[in-house]
Subunit: 201 residues, 3 copies
């Protein structure tokens, strides 16, 4: 599906930009930008494919690397001129990329005949683990371990997908995509958080 | 072997609890608990399987994920009520899990026809690398790199296994298990440490 | 090719020493030395092989593990007696190891029929990602993300290799090797850096 593939590349590009921005914040330079952009964009999908023992998706299709390099170059020029990238635009694009990654990750896992709980986990890994590695490389506690609505949106969206998929493939994908997107945007807008621990302070 | 499988799930659960406790300490929340619990429990075995190019053990058996979720939920409830989990009980359970993981990891590696030195390493990776990733995600220097008796117990136990295995499978497993367990408990009780560097201070 | 294999083991040993030195700096002990030495030496190649879905190179040839153990033991004795390892000698040896790793990584990737951009990336991963994991385990921002000439040398050398390889295999390898080596030594000697961001301060 061509439009899906284009969306996928856009998702990669947006994730790559978030990596490049962190590299800029941490005062890294050229290679730091490329590496953080790269792991954010393809880290989650790579772990998914390796664990599923599927061919890693970017090995036989270098378009993903080109998207990362392009997004990195764009980020460097933009950050040098404007000093920052508008947070709202980035968050919206990131939510879009996340929604796509979760649906495609869950789909790919199901096509490898895994249990639905494993498929849901794979959807979350595809969406979140790239950003987690990005944060580890920048030597900070991963955001997704603290602001849990990010990964929570993935889990809900992936669950929607696996539940509806036996009835209608396309509808399942569309609804799961919408769920992640809206839930994520709502979580950003109204600052939703879920607290499981009662801390004294 | 059913009892081995049950022990394995218990090992996963105990390792998961140690991940959940660190998430609590670091003031993470829901997803942080699940992710730290998950990587601690299955991280080592996942790396072992990926490196051996064996199917990742939890991909076609979601029981491990259920054990992690169960242990996480238990930890959250317990920590909210009691504020801490008794260190001694946890250490004993952790030593039990460690002993099991080391034996099973070494065993699995040997069944892939690797050299015995590689099998010993795989036993250590199975037992220790989950906790190492847990510590990296929580942004601290991994404990096993500092308190070396942890990984050292794994190396000794795995060596016992590979040396006795040609003579008697079950005896080798039983003795290796006992070695890791007793060595680890002794190291905790008498605060054994091995120093290879002479630091001036 | 025997001399290539011997060089490869030397490369492993040198990388292992750099891991052991960091373990010493961070006041780690026995296992910390072995683990940091090990991930620095074989981390990059392991990621390359896992992503290419090739058998991990050290699984069926434990010589690499022996080289790591030997280098670790040597480092411990040396550091205990001399307190430091001469920086210049180590840098030269490291540049040699890097040049070898890049050529072999790119070569291996090409033999798996990947696009040349992917092969260049694999050359860089083989040379740099071991040191990156070492730094993450020692809880510091990876050096290669900051001093970019390190990874940049790999990218240039790997590019030389993929461009010349269709014409003459051995010449391509020799020139790529020389490129990485000289570029890296020049970057150290004249403190070359590439800045892509204009920071205000």
């Amino acid at each position: 599906m061509t439009w899906l593939y284009i969306f996928d590349l856009i998702g990669c590009g947006v994730f790559a930009i978030s990596g490049a921005i962190l590299a800029h914040e941490k005062k890294m330079d050229g290679i730091g930008v490329l590496v953080l952009a790269g792991v954010t964009a393809v880290g989650g999908g790579t772990i998914r494919d390796v664990v599923l023992d599927a061919p890693v998706f970017w090995i036989h299709n270098p378009s993903y690397l080109y998207a990362i390099v392009l997004a990195s170059v764009f980020s460097v020029f933009w950050l040098n001129r404007m000093k920052s990238i508008p947070a709202k635009a980035l968050e919206a694009a990131d939510a879009l990329g996340l929604a796509l990654f979760v649906v495609m990750g869950t789909q790919k896992a199901l096509s490898h005949d895994v249990a639905i709980s494993v498929a849901v986990l794979m959807g979350m890994i595809t969406g979140c683990f790239g950003g987690m590695i990005r944060d580890v490389l920048a030597n900070r506690v991963p955001l997704i371990l603290q602001k849990e609505m990010y990964a929570f949106c993935c889990l809900v969206g992936a669950s929607v997908y696996v539940l509806l998929n036996p009835f209608h493939h396309l509808l399942a994908a569309a609804l799961a995509f919408t769920t992640v997107l809206l839930l994520r945007l709502a979580a950003i807008k109204w600052r939703w958080q879920i607290h499981v621990f009662k801390y004294d302070d």
